[in-house]
Each structure stands twice: as structure tokens, then as C-alpha cells.
Symmetry: C2
Subunit: 363 residues, 2 copies
């Protein structure tokens, strides 16, 4: 059969218009702020920040800056859309020699499948501060619960999640993150997520998926130095367990001076909450650089002394995790000697989980 040229042309135009309609109009964007946030210590004035303006008073400037980054925050929603997109704006363009752009500025999507969170895909990042990316398409159209992790080492100005126009998107009726139980992790760059390959592989996020609890990432890169203002803040954050992984940043002298009053304050203001103290990961270059190696040993010696003093003084419900239990012994778990890769984060999560379970059980 010969198709008349005019009809063929018309059909082509219609097809092109349908395609344009799909690409431009068939996606409906909803503001993520209307969905459900998880991984937040408290409500904040700027929803994608970790510490509220009012709580930042007295904190060091570096911590205040890092508290504006979105590490550990995730958006929960359910949708039956077969495709999911995201548009988000970043306050600044970031370059990190030891992290992927996906990890420092991208998004990481999981879906609940048979009661477990399973990786779906990432929103990669191009250069610039305005991002607009497809995360997944061609899914079946059953209703599913999703969790979207935000950037680890950047902030989020605005975030919109795109689904098909005819699909439902809403806060989940039965959120799979149990907000009744909360683990609060205070620490350094390792806690904040350097150097996970994507936001969901920072170890607080791994712990969150494995326990089902709400896990709060209070990792402040290079700046977890146990100042009194941080103890005061931590004591006001509702928790069922505190993890203190803050030994990599302070000097041995600072640990000597600060760790005892810091933990004592926390214990006195939260007498029933278990505290897990984590020694610093042994810097792998410290096996070669003798100065670095000595500093790491001194840091761990000082926190060990504080722990033993607390025990001697009768403090209870304090747990302690030694450096040689954290990331294996093949020396392969870091990108640069100190910052953990997904291999390191998987190992430290494996090490922490039984301690957390024990702590929560006793509580």
C-alpha cells in the first residue's frame, strides 16, 4: 500500500508533537518539601539543612557552614509513576579530589522491595548549580515507596521530584523508616560521608537501611572537635543511641581536655541513652608516615583513657569500639588513607551493627 505523502507528513507531525508533549508536559514536578523528610535531628527553618539557625549559636563557624550541607537527609514518598526525575539547585559548584560529583552534589534513590530498601539509581550531576536529571524510567506502575538521599558535601536550595502527570505522588502512608527509634551519629568527614561513591553509601545511611531506624548524620568534615556547644546541642537531640565518632579531628591534647567533659555533659543530660565511642579509623598512610601514625595512636590513647576514667567513675551504658575492629586489615578500605570508600563504609557498618543492637537491647 502506498501512503500519500501528505498523510505521511501529517502522521510524522502528530508523532513529533506527541513526543514533545511527553518530554515537556508529561512530567509533573512536586516540591519535595511537601513530602516526608527523614534523617533530620530537628525541624529547621531551611528544610534541607541539618541544624537550625537558633541551635547554631555558639558553634564554631566551620560547623555552622557544614550544618548547611544536606548529608544524611532523605525524602520519602510513594508513587506509581513509571519514571522519576529530579530538579535541584545547589548553593555552589563543588570540586573534591576524593569524591565523585554524584556523592558530593547528586541524589541517590532507593525503593522498598519485600520490606528491604534496594538501590534504584542516581541523579548524576553536571557542572553548574542547576541540575535536572532522569533517575529511572520504564518501571512497572505499581505503587512503591521510595527514599531519595540528598547530597553529602553540598547543600540543596530547592528540590522538585518529577513523576508522570497521571501518576500519584504523596508522602508514604506507612513510612519504612521507623522514626520511633533514632540513632544520632556525631563525627568527622567519615560520618559526613567522605568518600562514599553516592549519598546512600555513607555509613549512617547504611545503618539506617539496615536497622530501619531514623539515623541522624551529624558529621562535620574536619570539624568534629567536641566543643561544649556541640555537647549542649547533642543533648537536646532526641536519641535512642549516640555514636561519637569524633576522634579523627581533634588533636591528642584536645581529646585529653575535651572528651571527658563532653561525654560527662551528654551523660548527665541524657542519663538513659547509650553512648558508643568509636576510636579513629587508623589512617592508612600512618603505617608509613611515622608522624601521622604516632598522632593516630595518641588520639586513640587519649580517648581510651577518657573511656576508662568514665568506667572507673561508675558511668554506665557506654560502649567502646577499637580501631582494629573498624575497616578490616587489608589496608584497602580508603580512597586516600583516611576517607572510607563504600568498601570501608560497609565494613564499619558491619562492625557497628552488633554494638548498636546490644546497646539498644540493654536500654
Amino acid at each position: 500500500m502506498k501512503i500519500p505523502k501528505r498523510k505521511f507528513f501529517l502522521a510524522a507531525v502528530v508523532l513529533l508533537m506527541m513526543q514533545l508533549a511527553w518530554s515537556q508536559d508529561s512530567i509533573l514536578y512536586v516540591d519535595a518539601a511537601t513530602l516526608l523528610m527523614t534523617g533530620k535531628a530537628k525541624t529547621t527553618d531551611s528544610i534541607y539543612q541539618r541544624i537550625d539557625t537558633i541551635d547554631r549559636k555558639g558553634m564554631p563557624p566551620a560547623v555552622i557552614g557544614l550544618a548547611k550541607q544536606s548529608a544524611g537527609i532523605a525524602v520519602l514518598f510513594e508513587t506509581n509513576s513509571t519514571a522519576i526525575r529530579a530538579k535541584w539547585s545547589l548553593p555552589k559548584e563543588v570540586y573534591m579530589h576524593n569524591m565523585t560529583p554524584i556523592a558530593h552534589s547528586g541524589l541517590d534513590l532507593y525503593c522498598l522491595k519485600d520490606g528491604k530498601w534496594q538501590f534504584v539509581g542516581v541523579a548524576r550531576t553536571g557542572k553548574g548549580i542547576h541540575q535536572d536529571q532522569l533517575i529511572v524510567r520504564n518501571m512497572d506502575s505499581t505503587m512503591k515507596q521510595f527514599m531519595l538521599y540528598l547530597p553529602l558535601y553540598n547543600g540543596v536550595g530547592s528540590l522538585q521530584i518529577g513523576v508522570q502527570r497521571n501518576a500519584i505522588i504523596q508522602p508514604p502512608a506507612h513510612p519504612a523508616v521507623n522514626k520511633a527509634k533514632r540513632i544520632v551519629v556525631y563525627g568527622s568527614s567519615v560520618v559526613q560521608g567522605a568518600s562514599a561513591s553516592r549519598p546512600g553509601m555513607a555509613y549512617p545511611a547504611i545503618l539506617q537501611r539496615r536497622t530501619g531506624y531514623d539515623v541522624i548524620n551529624l558529621g562535620f568534615s574536619g570539624s568534629a572537635k567536641m566543643e561544649p556547644a556541640l555537647a549542649a546541642y547533642l543533648a537536646t537531640v532526641q536519641a535512642d543511641c549516640y555514636i561519637l565518632d569524633c576522634i579523627p579531628n581533634p588533636s591528642p591534647q584536645q581529646i585529653k581536655e575535651r572528651s571527658y567533659p563532653f561525654i560527662k555533659y551528654l551523660r548527665e543530660h541524657q542519663p538513659d541513652i547509650p553512648i558508643i565511642i568509636v576510636e579513629t579509623v587508623f589512617r592508612q598512610n600512618g603505617y608509613w608516615d611515622q608522624q601521622v601514625g604516632q598522632t593516630v595512636k595518641d588520639q586513640n590513647n587519649e580517648i581510651r583513657k577518657t573511656y576508662e576514667r568514665l568506667l572507673k567513675e561508675g558511668y554506665k551504658n557506654i560502649y567502646y569500639l577499637e580501631t582494629d575492629k573498624l575497616i578490616g586489615n587489608d589496608h584497602e578500605a580508603t580512597v586516600d588513607g583516611i576517607h572510607l570508600t563504600d568498601l570501608g563504609f560497609t565494613r564499619i557498618a558491619d562492625a557497628l551493627l552488633p554494638v548498636i543492637k546490644k546497646a539498644l537491647k540493654r536500654k
Copy 2:
């Protein structure tokens, strides 16, 4: 004792001069080309490239471009210097959303300790194409053997290794990479090293350290499509074992058309060399994107059919590794669904090692 002001001033000047002398003059740079290269298929006109100009004839332009990247090449040397620096030039500035700058453009240093390669440190990368970085300092001054991996997704124009002026640096007297045994890996971006956190964590490099053999990285990102020119080239590369991990890139139709003649050519020209065929890693987004999932299944079905056909026709010494054996079943081994992180690379190396041992034993 009171120190006279003038003496104090003089002492300060001398100290400052000593410091300047250390920082500016105390490092001696040697051209890495004068040391020992490993991980190279053959000698090439440009030493930091993977395939020589003369061998590139007839290869697809994409493969020719990628062959200029230095994935898998490492420099072996021994030195008693307490510090090691590097200056290197890159042909271009690279941005990759799913890789760290250290991995695509940086250097990764290992040292031999008690007969095993142990991670020492990385040469991070700043922006730009001229890099000059300290890798390690404060080591003891015993003579040690080092291996420095080159960038995975960039080239190297020039490379100089810096040691203390009074130290010895030379090709190792007893290189710890056994060049008498060679494993040649042909494959996609996964083989080239996306998305290892640093050059030494690409799986051919992990295999190299674990076996002690020379392992040749012929990974060509997105471009391992089994063209006849590649079979012809591979057959000329001296090997004790071929690993064909080239299923992620070609379409199911291309695998159907190309895999049989490709492997047949290799077998006929190298009748005694074991061949290990690896199915494609199951793209993790393929559990959600039904089109992607179907394509991956079709790719693996096609290579499976070729393998069974070869067996039926009496071809021997061919090994086969299924997709479900490669990277675990927790869906956490990739940065973006397809490219392996250090967690994924550790798992795929674990899966490949026993097959390699079996293949080499039988040979």
C-alpha cells in the same frame, strides 16, 4: 641563659634557609621512564599509552582514543627516600560524575611489605593539567620497593618521581610483579576501572597484587565490542590467560554476530591459552527499568549460547563466569547501577581469582 638578639636572629635566618633549601632543592626528580613499567601489553612508542600506534590500525576510533589512557600501567621502583613526590602532566582536564579526580587523573602508591603490596597514599589532583603533589613523607629510610599506578581515565604526558636528593631511586633489583606470568583482561569501562576510588582499586590491579602476575588492562570504556581488529590484536599479546569481560557494551545482536568468531579467532591463534568469559554485571537499575533489565538478560543469553556452541564444537580450556557470581546480591556494589565501586571490585576479584587459579593450573 639569655641568647643575644643578634645570634637569635642569625639562627632564625639559618633555619629559614634550611627550610627553603629543603622545600626547593632537596627533592630530586627522576623521569619515571627510566624506571620499570608494568601492566603493559607490549612496548609502545609513547610509554604511558596502552596500545602502540602500529597496532591501532583498523581499530575503532573510540578504542584508539581510550588506548591513550594509562589504565593499568604502573611504575616500579625502589628507594630509601623518606618522602616521595610526583609531578605529572595530563593531556586534558577531565570531569566524570561517577569517578573521583584521584581515580581518573591521580596516582596511587603501594609499597612491598613482608612480600605483600600495601597501600601507601595517593597523589591527589587539583584542577588543571599540571600536577605536583606530595604522596608520602616521614617514612623510615630503609630501602623499599614501590609501585605507582597511573590515571585510569586520563593519559599521562610526562611523569617525574621526586625523592630526597641524597636518596637512591632505581628500578627494583627484584621486581615483585612476576612478568613471566601474564593475565590479559579485555573489556568495558568496568575493566578500565569505572568507578574505582583510586587507580589501584580497578579489578585488574587488585588481581595483579593478589596473584603477583603482570595483569594487562585492556578495558575500553563503552567500546569493548569485539571487532575483528581487537581479536587480531589480542591474539598477538603474550598471555597465560585471557579474561573476556566485554559483554556490557555490545548489543545482544552484536554479541550474537561477533562473539563466536571473536573467541574462535583467539582460540585458533592461541590454542593453549585459557580463556575466561565473564557475563555482564547485572545493571542494578535493570531490576527497575524493565528495558534495561531485558537487554542485560539478552546480552547474557547470547554470550551463553556462544559458550555452549564452542563447548559443543569441542573447544577446550574455556571458562565461564555467570553474572550472579560477580558482585554479591545486596545491590550495593555500584556507584550508578553499572560501574563498580571498590566494594564491587573487591567482590568481582574474589569471584575471578579461583577461576584464574584453576585455568592457570590446568594450563
